[in-house]
Symmetry: D2
Subunit: 340 residues, 4 copies
């Protein structure tokens, strides 16, 4: 059975494992203060063309989101997100558990608009309401769409104008930045946001995300918030080593590009079969609508997520990754063709 369930179904890319094995009996200081983490920071600094950014390695995405928001906001401040945003739906209430309200807007194609930001900001005008202070977006989004440079620039400038931080959840930043239609570089992302994170878990690492703090106003004592929120790994060099591998030779981008390539192959095959798409995603998550009967049949041979169930039709999500093989895609298309 092949799984298209997620991009974290395999342990780690061989290049990462190699480095881990290589340094397995080296002694390192803990908590991210080691030389591998330092090297990884330098590599990322070079990639974002900004040596002043603070870079912290965290155990996972929930930690990044929780830490970034808890660290940046005062108790009465809130974060604006599209309703489908990961922090709003899939963090088990972690943001609210830190005391902060998420102000939601519908979004368009999974993305927030400048007008929505303006609207929420204008609505919150007195002390009986929370104070909007941050905009949260993810790139790629929950439905696989991506922000173009002009969109991100407009959002960032609006945030600057209104005194809002822009935080980018980059759990799947790799596939966003290597999508065909993408026109953003990692340096652009760093230039057009206050803080963001670069996802390792969903792009070949065992675990680990790199939280990048660009805005100096947010830098102070971030390690305290990090520790308090449980995102600091004792053997921090485990994450450092992985980001060293990911950014040493463009591995990060190569892995993401492969995931996208597999997704586009899948998409092309599905289009050929005239399958209905729920969203038009240029990245490694594809959402298609199939008859329930067909979904049931597919589940006998493949694993994937049921996105939305209907009486007759079901939307499913198919995810490719650095580990997806051409044959798995071909098999899936062939099997689906027989069922249709």
């Amino acid at each position: 059975m092949h799984s298209f369930r997620n991009d974290y179904s395999e342990l780690a890319h061989p290049e990462i494992l190699k480095l881990i094995n290589q340094f397995s009996d080296e002694q390192n200081i803990g908590y991210g203060l080691d030389k591998h983490s330092e090297r990884a920071r330098n590599l990322i600094h070079r990639e974002i063309n900004n040596n002043d950014a603070d870079i912290h390695f965290l155990v996972g995405g929930t930690n990044c989101n929780k830490t970034a928001i808890a660290h940046s906001l005062k108790p009465y401040e809130a974060v604006i997100s599209v309703k489908s945003g990961h922090i709003n739906v899939h963090e088990a209430g972690a943001i609210e558990a830190s005391g902060h309200k998420i102000l939601t807007v519908p979004g368009e194609g999974g993305k927030i608009t400048v007008e929505e930001i303006e609207y929420v900001y204008a609505q919150h005008r007195d002390e009986h309401m929370v104070v909007p202070r941050m905009v949260y977006i993810s790139n790629s989004t929950e439905i696989g769409t991506i922000y173009k440079k002009a969109e991100l620039k407009a959002i960032y400038e609006k945030c600057q104008e209104l005194g809002l931080y822009l935080f980018i959840d980059g759990a799947r930043l790799g596939v966003a930045l290597t999508a065909e239609e993408n026109d953003l570089t990692l340096a652009d992302v760093a230039r057009l946001s206050d803080l963001f994170y670069i996802g390792g878990t969903k792009n070949g690492a065992m675990l680990g995300e790199a939280l990048v703090i660009v805005n100096p106003a947010i830098k102070k004592n971030l390690r305290n918030t990090l520790k308090q929120n449980g995102g600091m790994l004792a053997k921090g060099y485990l994450i450092g080593l992985q980001f060293e591998a990911l950014f040493a030779d463009d591995l990060f981008f190569k892995l993401a590009a492969h995931a996208n390539k597999m997704a586009l192959a899948l998409k092309a095959g599905l289009k050929r079969l005239n399958v209905e798409f729920a969203y038009d995603s240029p990245t490694n998550q594809q959402f298609i609508v199939l008859e329930n009967r067909i979904v049931q049949k597919l589940l006998e041979k493949y694993d994937f997520e049921i996105w939305e169930e209907g009486k007759e039709k079901t939307t499913i999500r198919l995810v490719t990754s650095w580990a997806t093989k051409q044959e798995a895609v071909a098999d899936f298309i062939n099997d689906l063709e027989k069922l249709i």
Copy 2:
């Protein structure tokens, strides 16, 4: 330079790495629902002689402590700990960030006493005060001491009598249970507490702790609290695999026994040199008091933690682990002998 700084200075024991390499391209479902985590649970169930306990794998100790406490207590309920307790000093306020007060007592030899529990309980009598609801202990303690069976039994029975949960932080449970003077088994620990965790990070794993919930009253929806507090790993099978390795062939106990053996060798050597001990620890943390001059000299060749600085003398902590070699201990003793 050799480091006695901590028991998490090396990445992982070879047996653990072997299993990780072996399954590196296997597809697994995420979040601890995989077959390796399931096998590891079964192995632990057998070891604690209790198949009904819920077992969850978390990324680290802070997560275990935060999750266990946040999950068990109501907003006005508090946890009792010795003042030196890890949750009170070294979690960057994580417990309070979850809303809970830590009620501290001095303790004796790093351990809480039945009388201290009774005293705190009796002091909190009306609604203007918090309600004590949990006792937190760690075994081994912050200064390396361990609880004997009679002590643990007395504490647990007092907790039962007063309606308090007993939670055992087992970040270093391995060395506690394999210390020479220990008379507790892992099954005893499970029988004499409401919840506890088995530390992997400090006993050979890359990362990961096993939180064991024995008391049925605390079981429900623990995974929600776990997710909310950032302790759930996407690639949960990474931790599952490691606990599979640790409990497949008593590796967990063997590694801890080695750490203790090295510590006792170190202790014996230090005693021979008539070095002053700050505490009498039977496990892998040894605390000694040296002249500042000597400490400075030692730091040229060894890394270790400065525990408490004084004007003339300094207490340092020396930690051994599964990875400590006999020669490192011998070298340290020899070098110290020359300095004294």
Copy 3:
């Protein structure tokens, strides 16, 4: 200048002031343990026909909402509310500051529907999401509408079925229960909810709300949560005395009935002038849409809240209370007639 801004513009009804003056030099024990609070509790017990309910007097509405929710929910549990709900908009994020997510639904006419509750419940199915555990409604609602007995019964039964607590914010419960079209008694409210509060502040008291806990599962240690959330008054007998006055001789209902009577007189006058209504409210809040020019003129002589500003027209809110005089209503209608 007359204010229709709110129902808390005057200090207190004369009957309440009378009692306060009468007992001004009596010594009482603090924190709501006095005999006046006890008498008030007995009077409310009789009114709700339930002597087992726990009744607590709190300083204000935010405290009631915060205490009720913080006390009832576990950290990962959430409360369902209409988007316009007071807890969602006008508590400055107090609920999230207690750690809880508010799951919002659009509502119909300011009221939640059974279908919306079912929908939210069905959507939250795994540990990556919060667990819906409470439904929050207010009666009357933020736009002055009220729940009929059949509606409340259906909601309560659905809550029972799904294991959700039903909490009724009764800041304006008086006007709801004395509205012409109302068919609920206070005893019904107690029978068809798990907990609710009876608002004093907006119905003639200086301050104070009575939080009524019907469901035994929520009763334990509520005074601790109350104290922790700052809702416990040192001179609790000040609130006790006022509820004694309010429930001694149906004063609570008389005052609310007067507010409604004035609102209906206002409504009738406005209808006669063919003014556009934003909502159809049977209680003491009336929402009308006027040309901006007219609103500006009215503001020279009257105070009221601007509900929603438009380019040409503005929705304003007019609130009557126990203190509103017939002449104020007549004057307003006359002045408006001249402007139209």
Copy 4:
């Protein structure tokens, strides 16, 4: 039966009641934005000789403490207090519920020392620990003692040096500033702290405290935190009116001076009887140690708080207030004399 239980046993001083009655049917805007609150602010500004301070009226002491701390600190920052401090013992965990750790020190005579502040500050040196950011003291203290000007100045200067806010809980500031041995003015208090509150509840008001923010760094959006923490009264003018009365003609100081006068009379009487004092308090709380037999007898005719129970002797607290009559004191001394 006469109560020496507390200084909030009577509703309000006649001058305060008079003003409340006088303005009972005046319309006022809510939430402290009314003209009475404004006048009261002006009167306090004059008294503290600082027109730039922000002054907010809150419903009670827990609200002041919670709001002041939650507003000033970041999530990982902590407040230093003596172990007996009100926030540490008698707020039902309100500070921790806001996410902040209280770092406790023993204190001397109920007061914190400069050395203790230095010690705690020095102990907290890395990101695994909380960051001390505020010192909390109360004047008078929990045991009735007061800070002299030199002491307060030394503490404030140390706080300035270390980057700590100094927050003074003034629930009983009146009796502190009117004690015989006091050498502080209200203006000194404002000059030697970052924020503090002036207690109304325990000095003649029905309810209400005035939170004074001197340090500009803490001013912004305090009303949001205030609302979020439930300390904002809808009929805020009720508190405004009372502080108008208290500061219009030095009533605040006169009432406190009376309480102290009664306390000193009591103290003199007790000294004459050679009663043992637990603490040497110059203000309205007196702590004496009596044989259990005598305490039981006294309880038949007087109400007071049992401070600490022993097998043979019990410490009791006797509190005088603005309302205490000379005869009550005389009666108590006479009755006690007969029992001894």
